[in-house]
């Protein structure tokens, strides 16, 4: 019996060692070439690589984050260093993980949490499953990034994507034809209780560290309605957190749903993101005193990146405008493009 116990332990230890070595190999591979990381994990890995204590504002949430708030605009207009740690379909457990990683190496003064993931369906077993997966991913990155083998074996899979501190420039246009999606009503859309536990963990941790938290809802007819607005507003009030629902600021933002969305009202393109970013820059600078680093030489790389961003943004917006004009005049350019 004892012999078998020893054998079993030895087997498991060797297995753990193998997994550790493979995980280290994977970590090294993508530290050499960040494009090797899967699209969904790119922002998380990039956040880990940011210079220590260089980020003042952290944004977490699902794809609504990296299609609405542009850190380069925050930088350009008021020198705030921010990073979008958003992931497509991010679960709150993942958001918590990103937040944890963010505060391990950074000292953000403000955390923006996009609220769409508060309504992502998870049951208890999904919660437990996420916890198991997170544990595995934390200590053995082979579980999270195992598909890297395809990129190592065959370089064809590597598609470099330009990310501006987590923000992605989207230029597609697919109009949202509906209207009045935030029509007033009395009901509340209940927030997932599993999601709440993670939100409250983040809020508690932020409060204990003196970090301000803001909930924000990105403009999205597909994901929001008045029932959610009511529930989120009440929830934020209960937690003592400020809440900005951009779906209720349609008149100020002037989102053109025929032109500013990439997928019929789910996400915004760069033209829509510019409007949202401008509004949030004003909101943040009026309500929070975040430092302006523009004249700090140690942040010179931000200036370079912002210059590239501005060029690409202008080009993309003018392309969208042209596409829109084409559609209105019925020319070939008006062809819809889907994401």
């Amino acid at each position: 019996m004892k012999r078998n116990l020893k054998k079993g332990t030895a087997f498991l230890l060797i297995l753990a060692a193998i997994l550790f070595v493979v995980s280290e190999f994977i970590n090294k591979s993508y530290s050499c070439n960040q494009d090797m990381v899967g699209d969904r994990s790119k922002n998380v890995v990039a956040l880990e690589k940011e210079r220590k204590d260089s980020i003042d504002m952290l944004i977490v949430g699902d794809s609504e984050t990296y299609t609405t708030l542009s850190p380069m605009k925050f930088w350009d207009q008021c020198g705030i260093t921010s990073f979008v740690g958003g992931q497509s379909g991010q679960q709150l457990s993942e958001a918590y993980n990103v937040f944890q990683k963010g505060i391990e190496r950074q000292s953000p003064k403000l955390v923006l949490i996009e609220t769409n993931m508060f309504y992502r369906k998870t049951n208890k077993s999904t919660k437990a499953m996420n916890a198991v997966q997170e544990f595995g991913n934390k200590y053995f990155s082979v579980f999270n990034h195992h598909s890297i083998w395809k990129k190592l074996v065959c370089n064809r899979g590597i598609k470099p994507v330009q990310s501006y501190k987590g923000f992605l420039i989207k230029t597609q246009v697919a109009s949202y034809e509906g209207n009045g999606y935030m029509r007033r009503c009395h009901g509340d859309k209940r927030i997932n209780s599993n999601a709440k536990s993670y939100v409250e963990k983040i809020v508690r941790k932020c409060k204990s560290r003196g970090i301000d938290v803001v909930f924000y809802s990105a403009p999205s007819p597909k994901n929001y309605n008045y029932e959610k607005h009511r529930a989120l507003k009440a929830y934020a009030k209960r937690l003592g957190v400020k809440y900005v629902d951009l779906n209720m600021k349609q008149k100020i933002l002037k989102i053109d749903w025929k032109r500013d969305t990439i997928d019929r009202g789910d996400h915004l393109n760069i033209a829509g993101a510019e409007k949202v970013s401008n509004y949030m820059i004003k909101y943040v600078s009026e309500n929070y005193k975040l430092p302006d680093h523009r004249n700090d030489p140690s942040y010179s790389e931000w200036n370079k990146l912002a210059a590239n961003y501005n060029k690409e943004e202008q080009l993309s917006i003018s392309r969208i405008m042209a596409m829109n004009t084409g559609r209105q005049t019925g020319t070939k350019n008006g062809k819809r493009s889907n994401n």
Partner: protein, 521 residues
């Protein structure tokens, strides 16, 4: 929580094993029941009451049947008959309750929809709006197990279980809850209630089997599912080679998934020292459709044979037919008629058991027809072959049999997977339109959600599984032989398998978790 989820493998199973080992022997069954309840609850929540109900009904019906039968032994012939009638009545009531639950939950909408449709064709204006009926996981599996057990008790083949705990474990043992195998009581009674302590040998053997199953499921089947689902959901857009690819791909997906999950199930039971019956035995090496069903989903075939085919074969109707046939229509047609009478209910139930859809009923009837043809012409065929000196064991003849079998299986699975019977016929028709294999080989498959590297993994994975199947078929592969190899070789094989599952598995980013196919039946 399914058998391939991280929570099952990393939390549920280790916790159950530890709890089982730490519990005194006489209470270990309770740990397995508790684990089964947790497992069931994680999938079907409060619908667990249906399983609990089936357990209670099965338990007390079996005891009632046995008491009625036992009393009959020392009674007068009249009393014996009376008691047997009583036993039959109790049996019927028990079956009515467990089978009735299955029928109501699974077939109500199907029945009412078809009846109203029929009435509408006669001018009625009745409209039936289907209701959302929640069906507990595994109901089709444990219902058959319950019926089989009650019949066995009634026939005196097995003794009724006297402990409710044991009946609960027999029907609700968690490894077989989702996809079977459909166990007969005699399959499990030897090991299920022994409550033996964990053995290192069982753990090794079980874990190896679990990882082999994981390899088939998440490395091969889950990749194939992406491309197969993509083609089947837009089936009318495809023809020729792509339809063939979809049919072959789905058959491979189903085989890799179902047999893979069976490996996980049997491996899990082995961890606790419990032996479960095999559900697959290299099905593609069968000579014909009849043999195929002796190798594919064996437990369903065995159940249908024991509880439908045999009782029908010895029923009064068949006996009367035999008497009539021999006198009036000759030996050949009598045999055909007898086979038809016994096979028809088998294949109708087989089709219906898979679900309330016409394509499943068609699938059952498809095999009914094929098997009837095989049974009817087999003796004559053999005579002809002998007459023209064809060696039926020759390689070329066996190859021909395999090609014929594959055509039969692929066609059957095409209808089985199709989203409806009409869709099945559309696909079958499209198969012969503009037939070309070019889309399979010119890289077009890469547009269906799988990269070339994924396709390579699928192809190589299937080759590896079939090499192992060949070795098993030739009795050249056994765990005992593997266990005789030097420790470094064995451990290297274990690590290679585990790493293959972890690295090549179609899980996490870029992949979606694929539900178990048979868990939906």
């Amino acid at each position: 929580m399914s058998y391939t989820s991280a929570i099952y493998l990393a939390i549920f199973l280790p916790v159950t094993l530890i709890a089982y080992q730490l519990t005194p022997k006489k209470h270990r069954g309770k740990i397995l029941i508790g684990a089964s309840a947790v497992f069931f609850w994680s999938l079907s929540k409060w619908l667990i009451v249906y399983l609990a109900g089936a357990i209670v009904v099965t338990h007390y019906t079996a005891i009632g049947i046995e008491r009625a039968r036992e009393a009959a032994f020392d009674a007068t012939p009249d009393e014996i008959e009376l008691r047997q009638e009583k036993s039959k009545k109790i049996l019927r009531l028990g079956i009515l309750l467990v089978l009735g639950t299955l029928v109501v939950l699974k077939y109500t909408n199907f029945t009412f929809m078809n009846v109203t449709q029929l009435l509408r064709s006669f001018g009625s204006s009745i409209v039936y709006k289907p209701h959302r009926i929640l069906v507990p996981i595994g109901i089709s599996f444990y219902t058959l197990e319950s019926i089989g057990y009650l019949l066995d008790v009634h026939w005196g083949k097995v003794k009724a279980i006297q402990s409710l705990e044991k009946t609960a474990l027999f029907l609700g043992f968690f490894p077989k809850l989702m996809e079977g195998p459909i166990c007969q009581y005699s399959d499990l009674e030897g090991t299920l209630f022994n409550n033996e302590p964990l053995q290192f040998e069982n753990l090794k053997r079980g874990m190896l089997r679990i990882f082999w199953g994981m390899f088939k499921k998440i490395v091969i089947a889950d990749r194939l599912a992406i491309i197969v689902n993509s083609i089947y959901s837009n089936y009318s857009d495809y023809h020729g080679g792509m339809i063939l690819f979809a049919a072959v791909g789905y058959t491979m997906q189903l085989y890799m998934e179902f047999s893979g999950v069976m490996d996980i199930v049997i491996g899990t039971a082995e961890l606790f020292g419990i032996k479960m019956p095999e559900n697959f035995r290299q099905p593609f090496f069968a000579k014909n459709a009849t043999e195929f069903w002796q190798r594919w989903h064996i437990s369903l075939g065995k159940w249908l044979k024991s509880y439908v085919f045999y009782p029908v074969s010895v029923s009064k109707t068949v006996k009367k037919w035999n008497q009539f046939g021999r006198k009036k229509i000759g030996k050949f047609w009598t045999r055909v008629g007898t086979s038809a009478l016994a096979l028809f209910p088998v294949w109708l139930i087989n089709g219906l058991w898979h679900g309330p859809f016409w394509n499943y009923i068609f699938y059952g009837m498809y095999y009914f027809t094929l098997l009837l043809i095989e049974v009817s012409i087999e003796p004559t065929w053999k005579k002809w072959m002998k007459k023209i000196h064809v060696d039926m064991k020759a390689g070329w003849y066996r190859a021909g049999q395999t090609v014929k079998l594959l055509c039969i299986v692929f066609t059957g699975e095409m209808f089985f997977r199709a989203p409806g019977l009409k869709a099945g016929f559309t696909m079958f028709g499209n198969l012969f339109k503009d037939f070309s294999l070019a889309p399979i080989f010119n890289g077009a498959l890469e547009h269906y959600g799988l990269e070339r590297m994924d396709l390579n993994v699928v192809v190589w994975g299937i080759i590896i599984v079939f090499v192992f199947d060949i070795l098993k078929e030739k009795n050249k592969l056994s765990y005992e032989e593997f266990n005789k190899l030097a420790l470094p070789v064995r451990w290297s094989a274990y690590y290679a398998l585990i790493l293959a599952v972890i690295i090549l598995g179609a899980y996490g980013e870029g992949y979606q978790a694929i539900d178990l196919i048979y868990a939906g039946f």
